[in-house]
């Protein structure tokens, strides 16, 4: 056992993967001499040389596209995208090439590429440095998507990702890079990469989350227990495929589910989880699933991110809503633009009050 930060655990995982297999190459902007802007690759270039730890030109599509070619030749590239907001430049290579190559070649070409992406907000960064694009990748068949929340997973899941013959989008929550924890460097029979983990057991409410919000959710569970509510917290870990079995088993026990994530609500993974829970656990549900998410907008300036990101209070509010302790706010219906003065019979804003009171 070693005590490592998430960032150090990731570096240790990469070092072990590179030692075990000389086909593993690390590539990205600033990953060599600098060791990456978060120092995850610190020391790797000195140890493995400039051809296995490549400082690349500043071209994200080029990083992923050349990784595809390297994998064609039998390599297992681990690409670092410097910040979440920069991955969109490489979107075509990821969606059109990386995700589809195995299918379009009838299984002949495997692209075991891991794309590490520092993700999410909460560090007061400038724009394009705090995005949560997980749904875009989870929606793309052919990719696996994982998100780690602690040093042990950082180390273990990264090694699993590198060893996986499918392309893996590997999200690292920036605000947890410095989180310390015990890491078993030779774990026996680790949890498979595509399985969720119940990180705190409870029997009143299931709280599902991943990445940077796992710690916040655990804090919320402690606060809720002070209030007499027992919250079970699930770290989803794998965002594609989603381990719906673990979530469903929990919801069958608690009858209530709250999903919280940083990304905007619409078409986010919270919708996927809520829909699947409804599908599989309908007869067990005591209340409609509740989502606590970021808002539908570009990520705000740093001074406002506290209003954007779900925090302990907003998560507790979600828990209260699913317990029926507070009413869910129901906004007024959208007026019918075609009819002057709104839709006939539309009571307008007054109905909101009724709905809330209901």
């Amino acid at each position: 056992m070693s005590t490592l930060t998430v960032a150090k655990a990731l570096g240790a995982g990469l070092r072990r993967a590179m030692t075990d297999d000389d086909r593993v190459v690390v590539m990205g902007e600033d990953v060599g001499r600098l060791g990456g802007v978060y120092r995850v690759t610190d020391g790797l270039q000195a140890e493995f040389g400039p051809r296995r730890v490549l400082d690349t030109p500043l071209a994200e599509s080029g990083i992923i596209g050349t990784a595809v070619g390297l994998a064609y030749r039998g390599y297992r590239p681990v690409c670092e995208i410097q910040f979440d907001g920069f991955v969109f430049v490489a979107f075509d290579q990821i969606l059109s090439q990386l995700a589809k190559m195995h299918a379009r070649t009838g299984g002949k070409v495997r692209l075991p590429i891991t794309i590490r992406i520092p993700v999410g907000g909460g560090i007061g960064a400038a724009e394009h440095h705090s995005e949560s694009p997980e749904a875009l990748f989870a929606h793309t068949a052919g990719l696996r998507v994982v998100s780690v929340a602690n040093p042990q997973d950082a180390y273990t899941v990264l090694r699993q990702a590198v060893a996986c013959d499918d392309p893996v989008i590997f999200f690292e929550p920036k605000r947890r890079y410095h989180l310390k924890g015990e890491v078993d460097l030779d774990p026996v029979d680790p949890l498979p990469m595509d399985r969720a983990r119940v990180v705190r057991e409870g029997h009143d409410v299931t709280l599902v989350t991943w990445g940077g919000l796992v710690g916040t959710a655990l804090d919320a569970a402690v606060a809720a227990s002070d209030d007499g509510v027992s919250v079970e917290v699930i770290d989803l870990r794998s965002l594609s495929p989603i381990d719906h079995d673990t979530v469903a088993a929990s919801v069958r026990k608690t009858g209530r589910v709250v999903v919280t994530h940083e990304a905007p609500r619409q078409a986010g993974l919270g919708a996927e989880i809520a829909a699947t829970v409804t599908d599989r656990c309908f007869e067990y549900l005591e209340a409609a699933p509740v989502r606590v998410t970021g808002h539908g907008m570009p990520y705000p300036p740093a001074k406002l991110e506290g209003h954007y990101l779900p925090d302990l209070d907003r998560i507790l509010d979600g828990v209260d809503r699913v317990l029926g302790r507070v009413e869910t706010f129901v906004p007024a219906p959208v007026p019918d633009a075609a009819a002057p003065g709104g839709a006939p019979g539309s009571p307008g804003a007054t109905r909101t009050v009724e709905a809330v009171a209901r």
Partner: protein, 474 residues
């Protein structure tokens, strides 16, 4: 009295033009007019620069017309062999007049093979076009006119080189060893790729314009790693990644990123650009103000402009570029100046955007006629030889047709195969759901690919169907 037809009152009343040739026509006629003006201006500017309009300038361009990159050739349009001090050394094995008996016979064989490759390419291209017209293929991108560029370059490659092509390189694929039927699987809609890339050293064709240039570069970077790891013997000359791209691709970001990576890492890669003058309806003048080969200099690699309808010149420049890459010389950009004689694809109508006179002019530069004239002039080909080659081509066309029409639709559950390399529990669940649904029809066929367990067909499937009806009625 019928009312007057609705009178348009302004641009907003115009019917939005239908998107054509893959282009968005977002707003009505303003946008369309703007684009036309842009195209017009570009061409005009190019002319004012002293370069002929891109519609007519190539391959006659010479250093005197303002281009710093000459267009290399060793065969004139009537098949006369021109000496060229730079290229001749790459063609020394192919000069029947200058070789001893054994070498002369080898030269004749090689020359005839080049000719046969080109004739077969043209013949199977025509056959595939006909198959499309007859409804056997959904689409076909013809290569007519580009036979010399493809055959000349592909015949320069070694088996351990690896090709990353676009979607028009049928002749390259055949030279690499693709089965004829493999050329049409995709276009018939029964597969998303035709062949095993590792079996013939050629990746599945790429439709996203230019994306493959990065793959070729990455593959070549892998060769360099292999040298470091002792997996490749550099003294034998490195295997080379070869990217085929078109003139339109030269505008893509990926292509420019590939040039940066390849040049920076000095990777063994050759970029072979077939400038066929048109990217669907966009003339090359819309893509570049300078000859495409001149772009190379800015990336720190050589750029070579070659007459793409001269198979010997193409062979020579490709051999030279490969040799450079094999011996740590890094990447080269080759611009093969050629012409797409037919449409972009069988869905395209080139008469809408290019002049008949232009096509006529290029017809006079036919790559096959030129090479045939040369071969006859040096005694390598006669009427009997030409007839033999035509027989080979006809047989290939018949084989292609028979293979095409014999292709059957894959079983429904093959949908779910190969999406992932390792088991994926979410997809397996979806597959099981769909297999169950198919079984509900009870004909025992749809699920019968060994995956869904067709044993449940019959009574249970019938009752499943009944349940569905109940479910709908509920």
């Amino acid at each position: 009295m019928p009312s007057e037809p609705a009178v348009r009152t302004g641009p907003t009343a115009a019917t939005p033009p239908k998107a054509q040739n893959g282009h968005r026509a977002a707003t009505p006629r303003d946008a369309r007019a703007d684009r036309k003006n842009v195209a017009h201006d570009v061409r005009k500017d190019v002319r004012e620069d002293g370069r002929a309009d891109a519609r007519t300038d190539v391959p006659r361009q010479d250093p005197g017309d303002g281009a710093s990159t000459p267009t290399l050739r060793v065969l004139t349009e009537d098949g006369t062999r021109l000496p060229d001090p730079d290229l001749d050394r790459w063609l020394a094995d192919l000069d029947p007049a200058a070789l001893d008996d054994d070498a002369r016979e080898a030269a004749r064989t090689t020359l005839l093979r080049l000719f046969e490759d080109m004739v077969v390419a043209r013949r199977i291209d025509a056959e595939a076009t006909a198959l499309q017209r007859q409804g056997e293929l959904a689409l076909w991108p013809p290569l007519l006119g580009q036979e010399a560029a493809q055959v000349g370059s592909a015949r320069a490659l070694r088996d351990d080189d690896f090709v990353f092509s676009s979607y028009r390189e049928h002749a390259v694929a055949r030279v690499r060893g693709a089965e004829l039927v493999d050329l049409v699987r995709v276009w018939r809609g029964v597969a998303v790729s035709g062949w095993d890339p590792y079996a013939i050293g050629m990746a599945s064709p790429q439709v996203i314009i230019g994306a493959q240039t990065l793959h070729a570069t990455g593959w070549a970077m892998g060769v360099q790693n292999d040298v470091d790891a002792g997996r490749v013997d550099a003294s034998a000359g490195l295997p080379v990644g070869v990217a085929y791209l078109g003139d339109g691709a030269m505008s893509q970001g990926d292509v420019n990123e590939a040039f940066v990576f390849a040049s920076t890492y000095r990777s063994p890669v050759v970029f072979f650009c077939q400038n066929n003058q048109w990217a669907i309806s966009e003339p090359v003048a819309l893509q570049s103000r300078v000859p495409l080969a001149e772009r190379a200099r800015g990336f720190g690699m050589p750029g070579v402009r070659v007459d793409g309808n001269d198979v010997l010149a193409v062979l020579a420049v490709t051999r030279a570029a490969l040799d450079r890459a094999r011996h740590d010389g890094g990447p080269t950009l080759i611009e093969a100046v050629t012409y797409r004689m037919g449409p972009h694809t069988t869905a395209d109508d080139p008469k809408r955007y290019r002049d008949a006179a232009e096509v006529e002019e290029w017809t006079g530069r036919d790559p096959l006629a030129r090479f045939e004239a040369y071969l006859r002039s040096v005694g390598v080909l006669d009427d009997a030889g030409a007839a033999r080659v035509q027989g080979v081509a006809d047989a290939a066309a018949a084989e292609l047709r028979a293979g095409c029409v014999a292709l059957t639709d894959p079983p429904p559950l093959s949908l779910f195969e190969h999406v992932y390399a390792e088991p994926h529990h979410a997809l397996e669940r979806e597959r099981a759901e769909y297999a169950h649904y198919l079984e509900s029809f009870g004909d025992g066929e749809d699920g019968d690919d060994g995956a869904g367990g067709p044993g449940a067909a019959g009574d249970r499937a019938a009752s499943g169907a009944a349940t569905s009806v109940t479910g709908v009625a509920r």
